[in-house]
Amino acid sequence: MTWDAEHLPQSLHLDRLALRAGGTGHGRLLVSELTLHAALGERWVLLGPNGAGKSTLLMAIAGLVAPDAGSIVLGERPLAQWRSEALARRRAWCPQFWLDPFPVSAWETVACAVLATDPQRDAAEVEQLARSWLERLDAGLLADHDVRTLSGGERQRVALATAFAQGAPLLLLDEPSSHLDWAHQRLLSRLLRQWSADHGTALVAVHDLNLAWALATHAILLDGKGGAVCGPRERVLTASAIGDAYGVPVTLTDDGDARWFRVDMVERDE
């Protein structure tokens, strides 16, 4: 991926960000003070227990939820000052759930992300680009299928192809691996590495600790009570921090560059 002037990657800066559930003033406090700087080419994973605010944080960065306090700055401008058309060329948001009320083919769902950010592009070229992104996500054979007939993992790959095809350097992926098998988790990991090698930035919510380690250069860990730790993955993804956040026993094996996490899934009576 090479960026043209309109899609130039820009860094993301969160300054003392506070978020509440539902984006309203009286929702439960999810994040009380989060400050971070995501530079070009970094891959951030977002971890935390159910309801800790992973999706809300991604939606706040996407511009869909207003923060309770603090600021989000994309490039040199605060997020609230971006027009939605301009923002669409800078960040792509891949939600966790999809609801497809009407029949539509897989390539057409990908194509609308291309068309939205580049309306002047020729129709045949748009279709070709959409199909090539589906192929890159190993969904080329599904291009003409109705998205409503796809399996969970297939639909998810179509959604990921849509997010990549939008051509925005900042990717916000909400649990993109929740339905993916091992091979496709590896594929996602490879694509995200290429993305960041081209100076794109990714923020990815995940639950699988080992996948998180493999994907990430940096990590954010929300504890669900307002607290958050963030920084390079080595500092954030530790057995004690993860164990405290999720309330489970975690053992960690260091294997050179890799780190393996094991969560004891059997509760023992003491």
């Binding site: 939605s84 948001w93 939600p95 497809d100 009407f102 939205a116």
Partner: protein, 324 residues
């Protein structure tokens, strides 16, 4: 299952052919049988009626397609917005209160009622049409639908009241109006005008309605002004519905089903769905009305009876054949 739309040229030819055939059938058949009508019957009765039927069907189908898209709800129907019931209150009040023989009394009453209920729905649901972008996969426009249903329910109560206090002579007129009837529909152009206007309102950015149907929050993140598109589409749907109801009373079925039949043929993108739904709705209502006024001639049935009696089994057949 793969999805391939039919060639557009073929679809256009079939649609135009069907339209001409339906208009010819409607113009050439009458209560006294089949054949070329006299000059006066043709120009003063049959042509306006056939054109009114076409315009009404087109406007309802267009409104149905728009509501289905922006509310992301396959069960969307022009009558869920409360405009139909509002127009009914206006028309029935006019029939009840005005002396017989006031020209276009019920029609003007229906237009006023439709405008009033539209204003009510819009002022109550204005904020919610812009809100509801984030935080869930649920359709963000549930509030509009519920407000529409509530305005409709309130108007329905007024309709019941009018029916209860009306004398026997007026009751027949009232009931026929409620059933949906093209008998005596002489003004054909308002429905055509409203259908054309509402199509023109949404046309420039019609493709964005497809994106909204795929997820309204997501559509916003790819740069669509979701709130504005949604408000314009609902306004267009209200205008089309109001004009259709003022022309022919409350005709069900066609607004819900015409868009689905068009989708079953593979014409799914809004730029195709909207015009072809309008054409199909118009053709369907012309045919239904032709049957309604000839099948037990000289008695004329309300067109709503025929549109449901023919349309429901045909639609179920199409739907279930696909699934099998």
């Amino acid at each position: 299952m793969t999805l391939k739309p039919p060639p557009l040229l073929l679809a256009v030819l079939v649609a135009i052919g069907g339209m001409l055939l339906a208009l010819a059938l409607g113009l050439l058949s009458g209560s006294s049988g089949w054949g070329w009508p006299t000059h006066d019957i043709f120009w003063l009765i049959r042509l306006p009626r056939v054109l009114a039927a076409f315009g009404t069907g087109a406007a309802l189908a267009l409104a149905g397609a728009l509501i289905q898209l922006v509310t992301r709800n396959p069960l969307g129907d022009p009558h869920v917005l409360g405009v139909t019931s509002g127009a009914s209150v206006g028309a029935l009040s006019a029939i009840l209160l005005l002396p017989a023989g006031v020209p276009f009394g019920p029609e003007i009453g229906a237009v006023l009622g439709a405008l009033l209920s539209m204003t009510l729905v819009f002022s109550l649901a204005w904020r919610s049409m812009g809100r509801g972008l984030a935080l869930s996969a649920q359709p963000g426009t549930v509030v509009v639908l519920l407000v529409g249903v509530m305005v409709g329910a309130a108007s329905g109560a007024v309709v019941s009241f009018i029916l209860a206090v009306a004398d026997d002579f007026k009751l027949r007129n009232l009931v026929f109006w409620l059933l949906g009837d093209l008998n005596g529909a002489t003004l054909w152009w308002p429905a055509w005008g409203a259908a054309a206007l509402s199509l023109a309102l949404v046309w420039p950015r019609a493709h964005e309605l497809d994106w909204i149907a795929r997820g309204d929050a997501w559509a916003w993140t790819i740069g669509v002004s979701v709130a504005r598109r949604r408000r314009i589409a609902i306004l267009a749907a209200c205008l089309a519905t109001g004009a259709a109801v003022a022309t022919a009373g409350s005709i069900g079925f066609v607004g819900l089903v015409a868009p689905h039949v068009v989708r079953l043929t593979g014409l799914r993108a809004a730029r195709q769905l909207l015009p072809f739904s309008a054409l199909l709705g118009g053709v369907f209502l012309v045919l239904a009305d032709t049957v309604a006024r000839t099948v037990v001639a000289p008695t004329q049935l309300p067109v709503g009876v025929i549109s449901a009696a023919v349309g429901v089994p045909v639609f179920l057949m199409l739907l279930l054949r696909r699934r099998a």
